[in-house]
Every structure is written in structure tokens, then in C-alpha cells.
């Protein structure tokens, strides 16, 4: 760089410098002119009366305004109509949809009802079958126990060792058994029989335990496991 600068001779450098200074001043002058316009306002007298200078302009203006207003109104109306239309459309759509929904629901309900009915019928059938089965089981249980009555009687009679204690008397004993026929409770009913007679009857029942009893556990719910045994010595 230094080598380049050194290329110019001193007078050239001076000329360049002078030119630059002049340019600078010229710029400064231009600036000062534009920065200071210094406009003085003309003092205008106040008019006594306003003079319409251009009536057509006003009419034009009013016409414009009316047109604009008209246009605006038309547009508003258009907009309103559009909105109404839109709203109407929406409502119709909504209504349609609701109706469709209603129809759908109705059908669904119908279908549901039909299914429920079907189900109900199936259930009733099942129930009826179950009831029939239960009735059959009940009858089977009854007849199973019924067929054992003689055996129960014989077993107790075979264990009544003191019949004489009840001569001229009658004693009723309530007996409870479990599923195996084992005697679980023995109770004299009422105040029948004297002490000895009662004891002889109780002992007969205890000794006869287990009593013959249907051994099907399914029968159990049908059979009252409580018997009344009347001890009444025959001649």
C-alpha cells in the first residue's frame, strides 16, 4: 500500500486534496439550503360567506355516497340473504339428520326389542325346562324317601326295647337327620307320654341311627330332614 501512495507526487496530492475540500464545502452549502426553507405563511382574510365553488362536485359526491349506500345496502341484503339461506340450509340439514337419527333409533329399538323378545322366549323355555327338571327331581326325591318309610319304621321298631313303658300311652318324637341319615336331634313333641315312655322312644331312635335316607345329595334340598315318629304300642 505504502508503495502505491508513494507513487503520487506531492503536487498531485495537493490538487486532489483541494478538489476534495471544494466538494465538501459544496455539499455543506447544499445542505444548508435544503435545511432552512424559512416559509412565511400568507395571512388570508376570513371570508364573509362561503361560496360553493363546485355544485356538481357536491352532487357527484352525494351521488357517490348514495350509490355507496345503496351498494352497501344491497350487499348487506345479499349477505343477509346468504346467511339466511345458509341458516336455512343448516337447519334443514339438521332436521334431516335428526330424522335420520330418529329413524335409526326406532329401527334399533325395534331390533333390540325383537332380540329381547327372542331372548326372553329362550329364557322362559329354559326356565320351564329347568322347572320341569326340578319337579322331576322333587318327585324322585319324594318317592326315594317314600320307598324308605317302611325301612325306617322297621329299623326303629327293631330298636324299641321298652315298648311296655308306653303301654296305654302315645309319644311323638321329632327327629332330625343329616344327609347320611344320622340322627342329629331328637325332641319330644308336646307333653305326650311320661318320662320313661319318652326315654324309651328317644333311645329307640338313637339306636336306630343312621336311619335309611336317600343317598342322593341332589335330593337333599327337597327333603325335609325332620320326621315325626309316633310311638304307640300296638297290642
Amino acid at each position: 500500500m505504502n508503495r502505491a501512495v508513494r507513487k503520487f507526487s506531492r503536487p498531485v496530492r495537493a490538487v486532489i486534496l483541494a478538489v476534495l475540500v471544494h466538494v465538501a464545502f459544496g455539499l455543506l452549502l447544499g445542505l444548508s439550503l435544503s435545511f432552512k426553507p424559512q416559509v412565511i405563511e400568507p395571512s388570508v382574510a376570513k371570508p364573509v360567506k362561503a361560496i360553493v365553488i363546485d355544485r356538481s362536485a357536491i352532487e357527484q359526491e352525494e351521488k357517490h355516497k348514495a350509490e355507496a349506500k345503496k351498494k352497501h345496502k344491497a350487499e348487506a341484503e345479499k349477505k343477509r340473504k346468504a346467511e339466511a339461506e345458509k341458516k336455512r340450509n343448516t337447519e334443514a340439514k339438521k332436521k334431516h339428520k335428526a330424522e335420520a337419527e330418529k329413524k335409526r333409533k326406532k329401527e334399533a329399538e325395534k331390533k333390540r326389542k325383537a332380540e329381547a323378545e327372542k331372548k326372553r322366549k329362550a329364557k322362559a323355555k329354559k326356565k320351564r325346562q329347568a322347572e320341569e327338571a326340578r319337579e322331576q327331581e322333587k318327585q324322585a326325591a319324594y318317592s326315594a324317601l317314600g320307598s324308605l318309610v317302611g325301612a325306617i319304621k322297621r329299623k326303629i321298631e327293631g330298636n324299641w326295647s321298652n315298648r311296655l313303658a308306653c303301654s296305654g300311652q302315645e309319644v311323638t318324637i321329632s327327629v332330625k337327620v343329616n344327609i347320611s341319615g344320622e340322627v342329629t336331634a331328637v325332641k319330644v313333641v308336646g307333653d305326650s307320654g311320661d318320662d320313661t315312655c319318652r326315654r324309651s322312644a328317644e333311645n329307640a331312635v338313637y339306636k336306630a341311627s343312621p336311619l335309611p335316607f336317600p343317598d342322593n345329595p341332589r335330593f337333599l334340598k327337597w327333603l325335609d330332614q325332620e320326621f315325626q315318629i309316633i310311638f304307640k304300642p300296638g297290642i
Binding site: 321298652n162 315298648r163 315318629i229 309316633i230
Partner: protein, 435 residues
């Protein structure tokens, strides 16, 4: 409208009664096993030095058997042998189906002093029915055993027992000079502890116990030619009193239930008739007056009637008469002959000797329906006497040409010969309960 309503009510009622459970099943039991009440009598445990001869268990067991109301289970079946309440396992006894359990012990307290404890249990209810204690000498152990039997009998049958009672009877034997010796004997109801009350060379007839169980009336003779004498003797004190001295014969004294009068057969007015003797007043009243032979009177338990044997209608039969006298009514019509009747304690049955063509048998006559049920097989059964509770009958019978005593349960099921004496045994009389 009303019909509909009624139908509705009926449906409702039917619905109620056909509830889903079995209406209580009712079974009527009318027949029994009739082998007697199964009872376990455990051998009494002995504690002490000198074991007494009497075995309480065996005495009790024999008593119970003889009554016909019990089945004494064999000790070999027992699973345990408790002697006190704390040792009982009721399961052991339920298993062998004993309804009742008897346990006890005999403890020696000193020289010939024994304490006896006895317990009776209901096996299925596991309940004590009786428990007693005695302190006695060895000679009283038999009586204790009979009292044990009485407690058992009463607890299990509802009727008082009659084991601790006595029997009187007459024995006949020939002495070294071949003379007949008559003895009036008193023994326990099982024939043990026999004691002589009177010994004579002349017949002793018809011993009869007074209701107090202490006095015996009987007929005896002072010589071959003397008339009959009626005696009353207290068997405890030995004191005796002659009530009547007859020129002719006399027999069959019978005490009235109040113990104040004796009915008997006398022949003082030329005929055999029934008389009533008031003991305290020594007054004699004639009850029957009939050309036939009237004999063997017996009182009804309420004292209002007497039955007696009479041949007034041909063969001997049983007749009934009011204690106040009046006409006699014939009771037995069946059989060839009936004789020697006496009432059971309830006054409903008569035990008698009956001959229906197969010899003399013991039968029970039911006054309700006039039926006669045979208890023994005969052919030489005689002199039946009820036990004071009516459960047994003792009678005289023949075994090997010799008179012996036998006992039969009132249902006729159990019969037992009592081996009492070497000689001939006659005319048993069962005392009432000791008072």
C-alpha cells in the same frame, strides 16, 4: 263373582300347602323289639383287702334278667370298665347299643365295713339317672345289690322295682327217722338268704304276707287230730299270735289291703265257705254261704271286692263277690278248671291256675275282655303270686318229681327256676315292698 273369589282362595290355600318342602313325614311305630332294655352293668371295682363274697354286678344282672324287662349285655363286649363318672366314655356304650349304663365300686372302709357307690346313666343322653351310696357290712351287700336293681328298674321302666322284697314258702323234707318235717321259710326275692321261720312235724299251709311286709299269716296244726290254727307271726321279731283255733279245717288266709282283716276259708259251719276275720276286733264274719266249696279268697287292691274259687257251677271256677257280701258273679268261663286267683297291683288282671286240658298252667285273666293268656307250660304249676309291682309272678312247679319255685315275667317271656332248697318247696308268697 263369589265362586271366583272362593276359587282364588282355594288356589291360594293349595299353593300354601304345596310348599316346596316335604310336609313333615310322620311314621307310626307300634311294634317293638321286646327283648328287654339293653343295659350294660359294669363289674363293680373293689378297693380294699378282704374281697366280699357277694358280687353286686352278678346279683343286679340276674335280677334284671329275671324281670324280663332287661337285656344285660355280656361284659366281654365292653370296651371299657369305668368305675367312676369321670371314667365314662359314652361312645363305648353307644357302640354296643346299650341304652343304660350301670357303674359302681365297693370300697372297704374297715373290718367288714364297705362303702358301695352306684351310678346309672342314660347312654344316649349322657345323663345321670340315679346315683346312690351305702355303707354296710358284708351281710347286707346282697340287699344293697337288690336295691340297686330296684333303682334301675324304676328309673328305666317307670314302675317301682320289687327286688328288695322277700318271699315266704313252705318246705317239706324227711328227717333221719323218715318223719316229714315242715318248715316255713323266708328268703330274698331271688331265693337267697333263706331263713327258717318255723319248723314242725305237722303241715304248714298258705303263708300270706301282710301289706306291711313284716307279718305272715299261715295255717298250722298242733297234732294229727287237732283242728287248724291260724297264726300271725312277725318275721323280724319272731313274735307270733294265734288268731283262730278251728275244730275243722282252714286254709288260704288273705290280708285285706289295709292289713286289718283276713279273708280265709273255714269249714266251721259244715261247709267250706269264705269268712272275714277282723284282726284287731277278733271278729269273724261269714262272706259266702253256698253248698259248694268256696276257697282261696283274694282281695282287689281297692279292698272292695274279693275273688275266690268255687265249684258251685260244677268244676272249680273263679267268682267275684263284694267285700260287703251279696251275690257272687262268675268271672272265668273258659277252660276246664280255674283256681287260686289273685289280683295284680293295678286290679286289672288276675293270675290263676288254669286247666285247659293240658294240666295245670299259670294264666293271666284280663278282667276287661275276659281273655285268659297262658304264661307257663304246666302240667303241675300251682300257687301263683304276683311281685308287689306286678312285673313278675312266682309259682310252685315240679322238676324231677320234686316241688320247686319258679318265676315268670308278667309277659311270660322269661322263666326261671329258683334253686332254693334240697327238699320239696310249696306255696310261695311274695311280700309287699319293705316299709
Amino acid at each position: 263373582m263369589i265362586k271366583v273369589f272362593i276359587a282364588g282362595v282355594l288356589t291360594l290355600l293349595v299353593g300354601l300347602f304345596s310348599a316346596p318342602t316335604w310336609a313333615v313325614l310322620t311314621i307310626e311305630i307300634t311294634q317293638g323289639q321286646d327283648t328287654g332294655i339293653p343295659i350294660a352293668v359294669v363289674p363293680f371295682r373293689f378297693q380294699g383287702q378282704q374281697r366280699p363274697n357277694e358280687d353286686i354286678r352278678n346279683i343286679v344282672s340276674a335280677d334284671l334278667y329275671r324281670s324280663g324287662r332287661f337285656l344285660s349285655l355280656p361284659p366281654g363286649d365292653f370296651l371299657s370298665r369305668p368305675s367312676g363318672p369321670d371314667q365314662i366314655r359314652f361312645k363305648d356304650w353307644r357302640l354296643i347299643k346299650a341304652e343304660a349304663l350301670v357303674i359302681g365300686r365297693v370300697s372297704q372302709l374297715g373290718n367288714d365295713r364297705y362303702e358301695v357307690n352306684f351310678y346309672l346313666y342314660n347312654v344316649f343322653k349322657e345323663k345321670l339317672l340315679a346315683g346312690y351310696r351305702w355303707t354296710v357290712g358284708s351281710s347286707q351287700l346282697r340287699q344293697v345289690a337288690h336295691q340297686v336293681s330296684d333303682y334301675i328298674y324304676e328309673a328305666l321302666t317307670g314302675t317301682p322295682g320289687a327286688f328288695d322284697t322277700r318271699i315266704a314258702y313252705v318246705t317239706v323234707e324227711k328227717d333221719s327217722s323218715n318223719t316229714r318235717q315242715y318248715q316255713l321259710m323266708v328268703a330274698d326275692s331271688d331265693g337267697h338268704n333263706a331263713q327258717q321261720i318255723l319248723r314242725t312235724n305237722f303241715p304248714i299251709l298258705s303263708p300270706a304276707w301282710a301289706p306291711d311286709g313284716k307279718r305272715l299269716a299261715y295255717v298250722s296244726f298242733a297234732s294229727r287230730t287237732s283242728g287248724a290254727m291260724i297264726w300271725v307271726q312277725n318275721v323280724e321279731t319272731g313274735e307270733r299270735r294265734k288268731l283262730l283255733q278251728e275244730k275243722g279245717t282252714a286254709s288260704a288266709p288273705a290280708w285285706s289291703p289295709d292289713g286289718r282283716r283276713l279273708a280265709l276259708r273255714l269249714s266251721r259251719d259244715g261247709n267250706h265257705d269264705i269268712y272275714i276275720f277282723d284282726v284287731a276286733a277278733s271278729r269273724l264274719t261269714r262272706l259266702t254261704k253256698h253248698p259248694g266249696i268256696d276257697t282261696e279268697p283274694a282281695w282287689s287292691p281297692n279292698g272292695r271286692h274279693l275273688v275266690f274259687t268255687s265249684d258251685r257251677s260244677g268244676r272249680p271256677h273263679i267268682f267275684r263277690i263284694s267285700a260287703a257280701g251279696g251275690p257272687a258273679q262268675r268271672l272265668t268261663k273258659e277252660g276246664r278248671e280255674n283256681a287260686g286267683a289273685s289280683y295284680d297291683p293295678n286290679g286289672k288282671h288276675l293270675v290263676m291256675v288254669t286247666n285247659q286240658g293240658n294240666g295245670d298252667q299259670i294264666g293271666v285273666f284280663y278282667t276287661g275282655n275276659n281273655e285268659l293268656k297262658l304264661l307257663t307250660d304246666g302240667p303241675l304249676d300251682d300257687s301263683p303270686t304276683y311281685s308287689p309291682n306286678g312285673a313278675m309272678i312266682m309259682y310252685a312247679t315240679q322238676r324231677g318229681n320234686q316241688g320247686v319255685l319258679a318265676a315268670v315275667s308278667a309277659d311270660g317271656r322269661i322263666k326261671q327256676i329258683l334253686r332254693l332248697h334240697q327238699g320239696e318247696v310249696r306255696e310261695p308268697a311274695w311280700s309287699s315292698r319293705k316299709q
